[in-house]
């Protein structure tokens, strides 16, 4: 048990039957995942599945929705107001040191492409395209001094999604699934809603379970697609499967499997597999309902701007499309969270290509960031409002992130190059102190103002786990000789933004 045991530094005595069960299902190889999926019914555990398996700190949040802007969203044009860029707009940029930019985009200073205005009690300055978030700034904590370790999309994206620059590590949602288990075994614990155009940089490596058991992997759902989840219903090659045959097949299968298991009473895997088929059948009913937006009342659809369904989009990136698809994902996220999904990851932006279909605005901030940010703000603002009106915001953590920021200098006149040195994240709900700004960037938004004390992705992850009631140093899994964790060997809880 020692080797692969979760929480092996903090294992408390548990019912013997359950521990034995884990052994038999692969000695921790599949262990806890299974426990979280199957544990409640099969073993009637004393611990409430709603509570963390091993609370290290008092939880403030039960679930997370992460909004991930793929391609590197500009902090300077959306959230981090820099008056000096207006004052020195067009003047040769001077960073006071040698700067190594990804595409050498060190043109003149470029002012924020949109005007900023103050919002809320806290007077937070926001760019014009994200004005819809203005209604919620008093619930949001902005972090303006986040810094990455890489200026390359793939590695920086993995760092933000898994805590490591290399592929082969579990996504943040996998760790949460592993740590907290399920609140509704009829749905996946961790759901990913990718950009409707395709996967971000690194594809599934941002959310697959790597060395953690497979059931902690993010389950990809495409809202509005014919079948929202892979293999939820029989593939077209199985036209012979009918509703009636399916019912009888499940019954026959269960009977034959039980007969087989009776002769092998010591092998708990056999019962577990029988149970997994029962759960699968229940998931077939629950999952389509969970993503069916037609069930939403008119006023909610209007809140998200989904009351009118445009038939077609323009070929080029545009406001209508971005607003619709992002809001659609946000509403789907809310429905999933409401039904007990632990972690929903919403992506805006596909991988890198031409013409741009993500936030990687080397050529023209206005052209790409305009539609993307207006769409994002519309959906995110609706999501926050909706969570709030349902009383869910207090225990739902909303995290807005991206892999890095963009340079205050211009590239090809109207674009901005990568800025891994400083960028913005924000968090809302779920135990976050609203209306605060933590950590400043310097006068240009080039590096943290206090260069010795930046915020890192590790800190964001540590804070997230803390709010979920988990000590980030204790949620570990031994793999190839190291006790791996989401925060590697780093990470501090950002106390000033915790309520």
């Amino acid at each position: 048990m020692r080797n692969d045991s979760p929480f092996h530094r903090m294992t408390a005595p548990r019912a013997l039957s359950r521990r034995d069960f884990l052994w038999q299902t692969g000695g921790g190889l599949g262990g806890v995942a299974l426990a979280s999926m199957l544990g409640r019914d099969a073993f009637a555990l004393a611990d409430d599945a709603l509570a963390p398996a091993m609370p290290a700190v008092a939880p403030k949040a039960k679930r997370v929705v992460q909004l991930f802007m793929s391609g590197a969203a500009s902090h300077l044009d959306l959230f981090d107001f820099k008056p000096d860029l207006i004052r020195y707009d067009g003047k040769p940029s001077d960073f006071g040191e040698k700067v190594e930019a990804f595409q050498d985009g060190l043109g003149p200073w470029l002012r924020p492409v949109w005007d900023f205005k103050p919002y809320g009690q806290c007077g937070k300055m926001l760019g014009e395209t994200v004005a819809e978030l203005g209604a919620h700034v008093d619930d949001i904590a902005f972090i303006h001094n986040v810094t990455s370790r890489s200026g390359v999309h793939s590695t920086a994206t993995m760092l933000a999604s898994t805590g490591f620059q290399l592929p082969g590590f579990p996504g943040a949602g996998c760790w949460v699934s592993y740590g907290l288990g399920s609140m509704n075994e009829n749905l996946p614990t961790f759901v990913v809603l990718p950009d409707h155009r395709g996967m971000p940089s690194n594809g599934v490596k941002n959310w697959d379970s790597a060395f953690l058991p497979n059931q902690h992997s993010g389950t990809v759902i495409y809202p509005g697609a014919e079948s929202p989840m892979a293999d939820l219903h029989p593939h077209a090659a199985g036209r012979f499967v009918r509703e009636a045959s399916e019912r009888d097949a499940q019954e026959l299968l269960a009977h034959l499997n039980r007969t087989h298991a009776e002769a092998r009473p010591d092998d708990a895997r056999l019962d577990a597999r029988i149970r997994s088929y029962e759960l699968a059948a229940r998931m077939q009913l629950s999952a389509p309902e969970a993503v069916d937006m037609k069930a939403e009342p008119e006023h909610v659809l209007r809140l998200y701007g989904l009351d009118r369904n445009p038939e077609t989009w323009d070929k080029d990136i545009n406001d209508t499309e971005e607003s619709y698809v992002f809001a659609q994902k946000c509403l789907t996220a809310r429905r999933l969270l409401e039904r007990g999904v632990r972690f929903v990851q919403v992506w805006s932006g596909n991988d890198n290509s031409f013409p741009r279909r993500n936030w990687d605005s080397h050529e023209d901030i206005r052209r790409d960031h305009g539609p993307l940010s207006r769409g994002m703000a519309r959906g995110a603002a609706a999501l926050i409002a909706d969570l709030k009106q349902r009383g869910m915001l207090e225990d739902t953590l909303v995290i807005w992130t991206t892999e890095f920021g963009r340079m205050p200098s211009s590239q090809s006149g109207k674009g901005r190059d990568h800025n891994p040195f400083v960028y913005t994240n924000w968090m809302c709900g779920g135990g976050i102190r609203g209306g605060v700004t933590h950590g400043e960037s310097d006068q240009w938004g080039y590096k943290p103002l206090d260069r010795r004390n930046p915020t890192t992705t590790y800190d964001i992850h540590a804070t997230m786990l803390h709010l979920l009631g988990i000590d980030h140093t204790k949620l570990t899994w031994r793999h190839n000789g190291a006790d791996r964790r989401l925060t590697d060997v780093h990470g501090h809880v950002i106390a000033p933004i915790v309520a």
């Binding site: 692969g26 290399l166 940089s201 293999d231 012979f240 097949a249 092998r264």
Partner: protein, 982 residues
């Protein structure tokens, strides 16, 4: 209650230094304050210094007063400037509150330190896996020594082995185990009916001789080395030539290549076995893992991100080599000394140095040694001839002087213009043709000039070709004001009618008397592209009276510019490169004619004659090379010669990059240079330092490592491989962490057996894996029943570490899929070659999207064994992933075994399973006829290798009659008995 507590307090004994404090110091402090290092002049293993010494705050310990003792504060306060142990320290972990309290209590009690007490660092080398391999006595009698060891452990625990499994079960078990496929019903029946006592041994020999064996066990190996057919990361490009390595592994296992040679081929086969196909294709091992395409192709080595990419690339190579062959977690020493195992940080970088010359790239080679030899001889001849010609050219250049230099420069420029990617200046795209765009050149100062020449572009975008982006209407202006707000002179107005033939021909505009610093071309009506409009120009020349181009190399400004790499950028407007400059009349051909003429004038007749001979011989050599059988390609670890950001070390003759120790693993904090070496932990028994000549080729480093890894004195590789083989046979290794034999790994359940197997494999079996398999699967331990109940054993060893029964195995993704194909009668057993692709690639030109959902599961080209799957890293195959296939981004020594609803859904509904269920039904109908009873019995026999029970037959028949045979076959493929093999 109270009295008990009080009693407890009163009886709390004083802290025992030797038992409680000394081990704490040893574990947390002595790495820096002990016999080897005395940071700040302080050490905690010598009483006098501990109590009185130290540079900063001595005395650090004040007996009787913990509060006044600096040491108590250093260990207690994480935020203290002197917080100890420091975060970056060797031991890393801070003391717990309990440990701090204990030390404080010890100080308060007077810091009692008996004279006899000693504080010693535990010898990190004192660890089972580093001990020389012993050859223990085999306990007891018995025909198979394995059983002697297993029985001895069981007996000691008062347990015994289960009886042998029945023939049918054993047959099925050993088929899956050795070949990854189920036996056919006929094979099972024949085995059961066979009365030869040696039938099982014969079966084992037959299966080991089957090519299916190599396919099965290669898949295990590919898990460990994290093989895939794409790079991973962003822009996850296909590796079209990765598969020769996969085929090498299958071939080597089927040929039973001795294990030491198998290891050596994969690390340094090119050097140790030159001229062999295996020696090259095996190097796919070095390149098997992920590769950061952008970090190499788009970021040069000079940039920090580029250095990180290459650092992580070598890190993967080092991890793969030491993890696979030595079960050592050397990567933990990347940022600091290994926290648990005796691996200093220097060792890790010394190992990086072994791979410092190689990159991951396609490597071309001749699989036939005689062809390789001929190609090499012809290549040498060609080199000699080229050398001789170069000598003649040098003599000619010396004699011909400046005139030749001028001509050659002209030719070079003309050649560049023809094929160069530096097209020109390209405006941003406008949606309206009337959106005026301008571009201008700064001559540096006001100059007089007579002509402005516009050189049009060529680009095949939208089939436009010549004259790409040339404006419909434009004007040319000059001014001494960069902003063109004053003194603007309009030199000309023009239209696209001025384009000549070809449409890349120069458009010359006479500008008599013009004088200015800036010349600007403004496109007033843009050129159409594809529903949008642009302005592009290859070159802008400003010619003065002396026919000099004043604009060449001068700065360019424009209203806007798309700035796409070297293809389109402002600076291209004055770089002297344009289609017309390559093809201009009297251009390159004229220059070449002048060059020939000059040579005729300069060279003697005999020289000219020799020149002719050289050209003829060169042509012969070239055609002989061209006539050789084509070379093959493998994606491998190799010295790479490339252009752009990914250059490799080829241009430096494969000279290894300099490797330095990186503080905290940061490329921005380089320390001392390291030399290539292996792990120092086995010194002096097995020296880690390589004895390499200063001018040794890079491959000598890999050769030295390969030899270190296969040295009979090295205990790690032998224990590692026998344990891996054991793991796959029993479902769990003797050490249950096959990739980690260090302190974070598991302890051997049968240490003597492990050593005996390692010694026997090394010394008696000559590294033959097939001999090892044979020994294991013929043991009684292996042949036990799995469905055996033994309540005593169950209560003592529920986990079955002692092997009192066999472990029923859950088929891995590949074995399950292959079994489905075999049972449905679809399995295509063709071996080798490029992998089958069960996906469709969308947008291959930029970031390929691998779409499994668009592939046809009925495509028969995908009905091959799963080891031949084209493995994508960034988009893992969803069905195989649901069944816990290995993640090729990590080195997998053990598969996960999950059981979850999403796995059940994949079994039930995936297109593969449903397609095969239908094909299975077709086969059953074909072979068993129309009778539902016969169909049910046959289907069950095909899938499970046994007859149906009465209950099964009745229910399956009933179900078939109601829902059809396809649904019945689907149910059978979903049975637990199909997935779990006893």
């Amino acid at each position: 209650m109270w009295p008990v507590l009080a009693l407890h307090l009163a009886l709390t004994p004083p802290v025992d230094f030797e038992r409680e404090i000394a081990p704490l110091f040893a574990a947390k402090c002595l790495a820096c304050h002990g016999p080897n290092k005395q940071r700040s002049g302080f050490r905690l293993d010598v009483r006098s210094i501990a109590l009185e010494g130290g540079e900063y705050s001595a005395p650090n310990i004040r007996p009787g007063d913990a509060d006044a003792s600096p040491l108590a504060h250093y260990i207690a306060d994480a935020d203290h400037d002197m917080a100890m142990p420091p975060k970056s320290g060797r031991t890393g972990a801070r003391m717990t509150a309990e440990e701090v309290a204990l030390i404080r209590r010890w100080i308060d009690e007077g810091a009692v330190w008996p004279d006899s007490a000693s504080v010693a660092v535990a010898d990190q080398r004192d660890w089972w896996s580093l001990e020389p391999i012993a050859r223990p006595e085999v306990p007891g009698g018995g025909s198979n020594p394995i059983d002697g060891f297993v029985r001895a452990r069981l007996q000691a625990a008062g347990l015994a082995m289960a009886p042998e499994a029945d023939a049918r079960t054993l047959c099925r078990r050993v088929y899956f185990d050795l070949t990854g496929l189920p036996p056919t019903p006929e094979e099972v029946d024949a085995f059961v009916a066979d009365e030869d006592p040696a039938k099982y041994a014969r079966l084992v020999d037959r299966l080991l001789a089957s090519p299916r064996y190599g396919e099965r066990w290669a898949r295990h190996w590919l898990d460990v080395v994290h093989y895939a057919d794409t790079h991973g990361y962003d822009k996850d490009k296909p590796r079209e030539h990765a598969w020769p390595y996969r085929d090498y592994v299958i071939r080597a296992l089927n040929a039973d290549t001795p294990y030491p040679r198998f290891v050596q081929e994969q690390i340094a086969g090119d050097a140790l076995f030159p001229g062999t196909r295996d020696g090259v294709e095996a190097l796919g091992f070095i390149a098997a893992g992920p590769w950061d395409f952008i970090g190499h192709e788009e970021v040069p080595e000079e940039k920090i991100d580029g250095q990180f990419a290459r650092h992580f690339d070598r890190d993967d190579m080092v991890g793969n080599a030491l993890g696979t062959f030595a079960s050592t977690t050397v990567q933990c020493a990347q940022c600091h000394d290994h926290k648990f195992d005796p691996i200093p940080q220097e060792d890790y970088y010394a190992l990086q140095s072994v791979f410092a010359a190689v990159d991951r790239a396609d490597k071309r080679f001749d699989p036939a040694p005689e062809v390789a030899a001929e190609r090499s001889a012809l290549g040498d001849l060609r080199t000699r001839l080229v050398e001789e010609r170069r000598a003649l050219d040098a003599a000619f250049a010396a004699a011909a002087g400046a005139e030749l230099a001028g001509i050659d420069a002209g030719i070079a420029r003309a050649e560049r213009s023809g094929a160069a990617p530096e097209f020109g200046y390209h405006s941003e795209i406008a949606m309206d043709a009337a959106a005026a765009k301008w571009v201008q050149v700064d001559l540096g100062a006001s100059h007089a000039f007579n002509t402005v020449v516009l050189l049009p572009c060529r680009d095949d975008y939208n089939g436009i070709g010549d004259g790409f982006g040339f404006p419909m209407e434009f004007r040319v202006e000059s001014s001494d004001d960069a902003e063109f707000t004053r003194d603007v002179v309009t030199l000309a107005r023009g239209t696209d009618a001025m384009l000549g033939t070809p449409r890349t021909a120069p458009v010359a505009i006479d500008t008599p008397g013009a004088m200015a610093r800036f010349v600007r071309v403004t496109a007033t009506t843009l050129a159409p592209r594809s529903g949008d409009f642009i302005f592009a120009l290859a070159e802008l020349q400003v010619i003065d009276a002396a026919a000099r181009n004043l604009a060449e190399g001068q700065p360019v400004a424009s209203l806007d510019s798309i700035e796409m790499g070297e293809r389109w950028r402002r600076t291209n407007l004055t770089d002297g490169i344009a289609p017309a400059l390559a093809a201009a009349p009297g251009g390159i051909d004229g220059l070449r004619a002048r060059r020939d003429e000059l040579r005729r004038r300069t060279e003697t007749e005999s020289t000219a004659q020799r020149r002719g001979e050289i050209e003829r011989e060169l042509a012969q050599a070239e055609s002989a090379i061209a006539a050789l059988p084509p070379q093959q390609t493998v994606y491998a670890g190799t010295v790479h010669t490339g252009a752009g950001a990914f250059r490799g070390t080829g241009a430096n003759g494969g000279r290894p990059r300099e490797i330095r120790v990186l503080a905290r693993g940061q490329v921005t904090a380089p320390g001392a240079v390291v030399q290539p070496a292996a792990l120092s932990v086995l010194d002096p028994l097995l020296p880690s330092r390589f004895e390499l000549a200063a001018d040794a080729p890079e491959s000598a480093r890999r050769t030295a490592l390969a030899q270190w890894l296969t040295d009979p004195r090295n205990p790690l590789p032998w224990r590692s491989i026998v344990n891996r083989v054991w793991h796959y046979h029993f479902g769990r290794g003797i050490v249950d962490t096959p990739n980690d034999f260090g302190r974070m790994g598991g302890a051997p359940s049968h240490p003597e057996l492990l050593d005996w197997l390692a010694a026997t494999f090394r010394d008696d079996m000559g590294g033959s894996l097939k001999s090892l398999h044979r020994l294991i699967v013929t043991s009684a331990a292996y042949r036990q029943r799995a469905d055996h109940a033994d309540p005593v054993a169950e209560s003592q060893d529920r986990d079955n570490r002692l092997l009192w029964r066999a472990n029923a195995r859950k088929l891995e993704a590949e074995a399950l899929r292959d079994a489905v194909l075999a049972v449905s009668g679809s399995l295509d057993l063709s071996m080798g070659g490029p992998g089958y692709r069960d996906f469709v690639i969308e947008q291959p030109e930029h970031s390929p999207h691998y779409r499994y959902d668009l592939a046809d599961p009925g495509d028969a080209s995908t009905f091959r064994r799963s080891v031949y799957r084209f493995i994508v890293r960034s988009q893992m195959q969803p069905f195989m992933t649901a069944l816990d296939c290995a993640d090729p981004s990590q080195r997998v020594d053990r598969r996960n075994q999950s059981l979850s609803p999403n796995q059940a859904l994949a079994y039930l509904n995936n297109g593969f399973m449903l397609t095969q269920a239908a094909r299975f039904a077709e086969r059953v109908r074909r072979e068993a006829g129309d009778d539902a009873g016969a169909q049910a019995a046959h289907a069950l026999r095909l899938a499970l290798g046994r007859a149906a029970t009465d209950d099964e037959r009745v229910r399956l028949v009933d179900f078939t009659r109601t829902h059809g045979l396809e649904n019945t076959c689907r149910v059978i493929l979903n049975l637990n008995e199909f997935t779990f093999v006893d």
